[in-house]
Amino acid sequence: MPHLAQPSVTIDPDKCIAAKGCRTCIDVCPTDILALGPDGKVHMAYDECWYCLPCQHDCPTKAITVSIPYLLR
């Protein structure tokens, strides 16, 4: 899975509990752009974010921050 240099969606690795099996954000993202990396943490794999927020709202540990994508900031 590709890693983006400047993702608009960032995940705090200290808070992400993907290693315990959580996949909530990956599941709810409508554009399916969040992926599990080899480090066991979630990252934004494609620059296709609709900045819609289900990932941020549903994350149980509040690990996700969505910013407005660079092109429309």
Binding site: C29, L53, D58, I68
Partner: protein, 579 residues
Amino acid sequence: MPQTEIKTRQVETDILVIGGGTAGPLAAIKAKEKNPALKVLLLDKANVKRAGAIAEGMDSVNNAVIKGHATPQQYVKEITIANDGIVNQKTIMAYASRSEAMIRELDSWGVKFEKDEIGDYAVKKVHHMGSYVLPMPEGYAIKKHIFKQIKKLGVEVSNRLTTTRLLTASDGRIAGALALESRSGEFVVIRAKAVVLCTGAAGRLGLPASGYLFGTYENPCNAGDGYSMAYHAGAELSGLECFQINPLIKDYNGPACAYVTGPFGGFTVNAKGERFIKSDYWSGQMMLEFWRELESGNGPVFLKLDHLADETVTKIENVLHITERPTRGLFHQGRHTDYRHDLVEMHISEIGLCGGHSASGVWVDENARTTVPGLYAAGDLCNVAHNYMLGAMVFGAIAGQDAVDYVAGLELPDLDEAQVAAERERVFAPLLREEGLEPAQVEYKLRRMVNDYLQPPKVTRKMEIGLVRFAEIREDLKRLKANTPHELMRALEIYAIVDCAELAALASLYRAESRWGLYHYRTDFDFRNDAEWFCFVEVKKGADGRPELFKRPVDPYIVPVGDDERNAYNELRIDTAAE
């Protein structure tokens, strides 16, 4: 990867619902409720739990027809007038007469609607003539309540399936769909007796001014797949020249949003701070006045809230920054815009296709039936004018219930292996190719061309050049290269976008007049011509595989429109602001 390594799975169901956003869940719920013994499969390319336009909720019902505030007849009349007369009134009546019952049912599921002191629904006036907007104080939770019903009834749900083509049987009726599992790359053959298509608007048609492919007003998962699938299955499409163009927050491309702020005293102004339209309800004529204001030198155009009391602004923020597009507050923060002392710059959006907001899409009758036996369509995808969220739900419900009657006693239609094999080859070609064009680049170029050649005002020569460019890009699709199943899904969406662009251009060229304000404003036919064009422009796939265009007469009205009312929506401009 060789073809032989592609895994194929076959699924069988009685009723297949494609699209788990707004219309789809209601179709599935109502079908299962009517006959629990039937197998009902609801699938989505995203996750049904959070899919579609209402994933983060809705601020309000835009078209509530509630006794004491409006009658179905009034509503049908208003939408007929707002749409320059070209509507199938029977479909609008089918919605209007079931609108209140649907609201009451949603209410019983836990969806909250604003009520007054005596418990009556607190309907607001935003439309030009009547009152139809009903706020939803906890609108962010709507999808949750609907999803509960899906689970309760035992509707089968499948996520991350992108359908690419519909299957038809040798007798011409619908036979199911073919899909790509966009994570595993599996090919899925779904056999069904009836299919309800609820894939939403074509939201990735024009390129947003920001240049960001996914910076769309509509959910970008709605790339236009449904229009393309219906077309290739032989269904008739209608009004594709009646574009969707919205007044949106510049760059952010989210709703501004007059429906929420209007009842609190917000409105649209020009750069001089003057109001220039009487109604902020989205219509083609409203968009034309908006565009004229921009072109007159009075632009830009803004949403004005800075005259409101601090606590009113806070109330507005509490709606607009929590529901629908909750990053809106973040965007304003980044631009240092505070409604209390700043105006919000608005702009004209790029084009899209959407029955929910304008009047175009797959042709359906008042039972949500398309022209292909066993194929239904509901929501933004179908041509039921100005249907919005509640219309999507009501038509979904109608489709689901009608499909139950349709499949009664039917066997599964035959499976055409040749269709399956041809689609399998088309779908996987970009993944199997060694090298080729990056899907995002091809999509960018295509959508840039859509802007250059189709964005109104429409010019004949430009649209003709557009068609040449689209044909060239269609050739380029043979060189698309996808590295993952996810990229493959994106590559396939471009096929649908090309279809939508071509059909939208052809329908626009065919209608040799101007209508629906800016939506179909043709500079070389700068007038409305009721004598020749008081009809629908339809398109379907001809026997030669090319689009075939034809006129469909407007059925006699069931709700008459008086001569004195006919032009009400053409009189939106406040003259003092015109230069």
